[in-house]
Symmetry: D2
Subunit: 382 residues, 4 copies
């Protein structure tokens, strides 16, 4: 597929994902980390306008100069921006303007890509498409959260399957100690945080062939895991107490039966399916309770060909830090990853919300340890 076609496909996919939404559904922001769908639509478009069209397409006419303020996420380089927690209040411009914005930028991009595009701009195009795919995933998890605060358990799509049972027995995969190579190799696209392929020394370890399931986690709940400080980080224990956490996000017990809210509505918990929507604190506490541990991101990467992955982002026991030799990109896109390298933990894998082909074995996802609105699960090691 040419980049021009790929551009069309990715951009169209975003709009397809939003088809089931009402106009109003586009405008809610029930917590600061969640962005309204309307904002995702505008922001991903702004990325192409700002970093490609404005810089590389001669005589490009900006669609609307106020949009830079509205749809800049966090790029200090690119000027002032709307404070994050006000995104849900932007009733103007109306949604149809945002779609006009998309159409206009798409058309201009098509003009640009039909010509003789600058190689530097094609790198930014790849980045922009991967960026849009990240927002496709964020849209799904944000929108699940938005539906989750409605009092009626509304449905996004009746046929949305959040997970599948992993067949076969749980087994331990042995990995021998030695020097392994970590980080992206090859010619395709990757983010700057994956670059700088390097060696690490790993000791013998074993890693599970399967993700932890709902049923296994229920044992932890029923054994009083949320009421026993011994399994928790000090900050995790404070988080449990302050938020009165008793189960993963979206779980609720009604008449003795555990159910969870999904993008297909409220469903009974299937004990055999992989667990989701836990924080790093919970992942760690569960592992402590089992007398086991989470893998590091290096262990995960070294072993990833030995098990199946892709249903769930998997918390690792690695903090999100620069690889040796990490270099920020020049200019505004240098703000993409590096400035978040503190106080966050790495997740590896992919989830049901990740666009096909978007992730890879070296992909480094990262979130603060208390967050759990993503499809986050865990795999044990020892």
């Amino acid at each position: 597929m040419s980049l021009r076609e790929k551009y069309k496909t990715v951009r169209q996919h975003t709009e397809d994902l939003l088809k089931p939404l009402s106009t109003e559904d586009h405008l809610a922001q029930p917590m600061m980390d969640v962005s309204p769908p309307k904002w995702h639509l505008g922001h991903t478009t702004w990325f192409f306008e700002t970093f490609i069209l404005k810089n590389f397409l001669e005589d490009y006419q900006e669609f609307d100069p106020t949009f830079n303020f509205l749809f800049n996420s966090y790029y200090e380089t690119v000027g002032k921006r709307l404070v994050r927690d006000q995104r849900g209040n932007m009733t103007r411009p109306p949604l149809e303007n945002i779609y006009q914005y998309r159409a206009y930028v798409n058309q201009q991009m098509d003009v640009y890509l039909s010509g003789d595009p600058d190689p530097k701009s094609l790198e930014l195009l790849e980045l922009g498409l991967n960026h849009e795919q990240q927002h496709q995933e964020l849209f799904l998890t944000d929108f699940k959260y938005i539906l989750g605060v409605q009092p009626f358990y509304p449905v996004y799509r009746e046929d949305f399957e959040e997970s599948k049972v992993e067949k076969g027995k749980q087994e331990w995969i042995q990995v021998w100690k030695g020097t392994y190579r970590i980080g992206f190799k090859g010619n395709g696209f990757c983010f700057d945080n994956e670059k700088g392929r390097h060696q690490v020394f790993l000791h013998d370890f074993e890693i599970s062939n399967k993700l932890v399931t709902n049923g296994e986690y229920l044992e932890f709940i029923e054994a009083g895991g949320y009421r026993d400080f011994r399994y928790w980080h000090s900050e995790g224990w404070a988080w449990v107490q302050e938020n009165q956490v008793e189960a993963p996000l979206y779980w609720e017990k009604s008449e003795g039966k555990w159910q969870h809210f999904t993008l297909a509505g409220l469903k009974d918990i299937n004990p055999d399916e992989p667990l989701a929507h836990i924080s790093y604190y919970e992942a760690y506490a569960y592992a402590e309770w089992k007398g086991l541990r989470l893998p590091t991101e290096q262990e995960w990467e070294a072993a990833n060909e030995l098990f199946k992955w892709g249903q769930r982002w998997e918390w690792t026991n690695s903090a999100y830090l620069a690889y040796p030799g990490f270099k920020k990109e020049e200019g505004a896109v240098g703000e993409y990853n590096g400035k978040f390298m503190v106080n966050q933990m790495v997740l590896r894998g992919a989830s049901v919300a990740t666009p096909e082909g978007h992730s890879r074995p070296t992909y480094r996802n990262f979130f603060h340890p208390h967050l759990r609105w993503q499809f986050t699960g865990l795999r044990l090691a020892r």
Copy 2:
């Protein structure tokens, strides 16, 4: 006008007020005190359904049992309710359902009122209509606030005039000391907080025939009034510092010129128009700076026939407290007023947003001293 006609007129007026809004405009809540227009639509309807139809119309079928949760404002008696700051996230049910709800309740009310309505229900009907008129005013001020956070100064209605110049010279009206009667008299509707007509003794005082104007207030600003603690309550001074307040709400200085945001868009300040959007703290500080004071609500009421009022809610120097002989209504509507009688100040008069005929000389409006998103101004006394 019969009550049945009055019901139709008032209910229709709400919908007329919302006509200029886009679907998205119905769903923003940029601060907790502001409710989304969609919520006003539902809540005012819920009032009639809950207090009249459910209690008085035989075999009444509730429109949707979940609406009690969504549209109860603060009536503890009537069950659990949505937390206030989540009103802006209720994308479901969609707006058209709320209009169906209105149509259904209106139709059922019409059936009920065509019959032989219980006299008690007619009292509640009057209350419900006055309640809806209060929400018409709140809608306008809330919606001004919603438009005010948009980055583009959008317009509600080009022809919306927020105020008119009061003609003639400022003069002091003399009122002689003596015993005055305060509180509602007559047979029409009034709120419970106006009842219990009683005597008060007032000393000689003078009250201005005119509201304080923008131009007069500008002198206070330019004299450094916001930077001199001597004019402020201790809590007012803390409020100024913490919020870096330098002018009334919606005012901004651009290239040396003061402008303010109005429902007709951004306009130059007219120095001769009455001032609006100030907190009680600012009203008090301005009066201190002038060496004058605010009237008490009793002084205002005793003198109200001697000046024109109705353009602006006027801060008084009276705390919102029960009149001698105040009695809460029985049942849930007893929660209407009494439970707010602490930490709020009384405002008298009316504003451009007040529906015609809704206010009266004994009407007691009240807000916390730091709030200023209503059309609030002041009249001096001495």
Copy 3:
């Protein structure tokens, strides 16, 4: 007693009150409203130094120029000051310096008063002595709070009696409607907030001859008063829930028996003694539960000769506002009262902690409605 003798007596009384304290006891500040005893010692001394010695005693040598920063409470006129919640951390200068400061200022005051003092300074002297008496009361209540946070129920003085049973039956005192005069009269000292004697019209009312007792309040607790929103202000109910309030401050139930912490240690509740340590919210809720109400401050003052008072500050249903004709004093002492006239409620009477002769029938005490570390009780009216 001459003013010079009165000065010595009042100043000595402060030091006598602090005799039972260890050096460390002088330095705790477990909540912001509480000041460490050491600070009370310095601040009351600073008052005389700042307002009298510096202004009226020729060639007066300031004791230490840094003390103005440390011991200014809230007088913006007098310069910068320590932020309030850091008072408990001022380990330097040491306590003995504060006593030297007191001795030095006392000696200089004696010099000054032996001469031919300026009449204006004598007014400030009266104010300073009354100010010190207010701090004597604050010291006792603050120190009770300090001891109350220690885990061992320590004793201030074994023989400290916080209250006495009011003998005789509860009866209602009838007061007839008419015009009453309110505010200070006579030649003695009073605060500016009592001045401007004026007329008010009161309607018929009855007021109890006795304060509400512990036993009566226990009935409210046992009837579930803290769990029934109907008796509470909206803000009072939020306060109960947020702070999980279930009883007056210092009360605790242990093995089915109610006890309370007092300045003489932990004691059983005596049901016949007057109730103390309740907030305005609780006073109001209790009255609502009884179907009665609190008196206004004007009713209280008009009737005060008809009942005994002085054991407890009594919450009234009056907000703390200016009397007609209220004028701030000139200069810094103008900050004494006026700037607190918002969001507070008036208490009348006196308490066990009030120095003898300090209060009077026109005395207006005031606190925010949620505070209860003072000896606050209530008297019912109807």
Copy 4:
């Protein structure tokens, strides 16, 4: 030195450090992370009483059963404890009781150690002594902070030298890539977080022979480093803005000259001395500005014999996480380190406040990235 003698020496050293303090100095807690000196005295004693005497000395009589509540820091296993931010309000028991407690526990420990102590108890004794040494360092930094909030720049000890100029030129030390062994080896004491000696692979790197100096950091300040987001983590930038940070802790500019508060009072900044009192965010931003980076803790440990260290805790770019094979100790002392392994960064080295012989090349200190009241500095790598 026998363990019995070592016990006496370490315990005596704590008391020696506190000699310059007044009684009041023992009781301040100006921020939550700072503990009052009195609490350090009690808590270190409690450690020996709780983990050794109560478990190993037959018929041991607890000094005071209430002390477990007062002096337990964070051991959930050992029962309820005082909330952390109330430590500064514990005026009772008086300081002399804490010294009696120390004397009593010391005497009982001497009895115990003169007998035939259980080998398990001797491990705990080593831990207790190292624990007390950690609190000696904390005492010095806490007390610097306490003095720092006093308005008069008081002096702890006139002859206290916080740092020494590192002589010689700045040079880069080359370290070649390869597998290195990390973690404690040998027979002496170490904390559990150093255990599990293991291999890591390091790539070529260079590390500075010298710490960054005040003068070098001043260049960063003067180049506008605190006002340029490009050098900061996203969270670091928010921290700078929210706290209006413009220089290291304790630095102030007065009449164009930079000074800093030290334990010997206010001093001019010596540009050649090593920098101290910076947060991880500042260390990172400085390195970014220089186009360099911080070393990882593994790099630091691998290279530590090639440079001099010990004047300053050095921020590394490593998050505080478990080594491969990390195991918590059994029982309450298992809470010593493991539960803090999230959201903190590792520091290596030692500081002027570290007791002699307490640190070692494998020692892992750790703090949250925003904290800077320790003697924290940085060494660059590339």
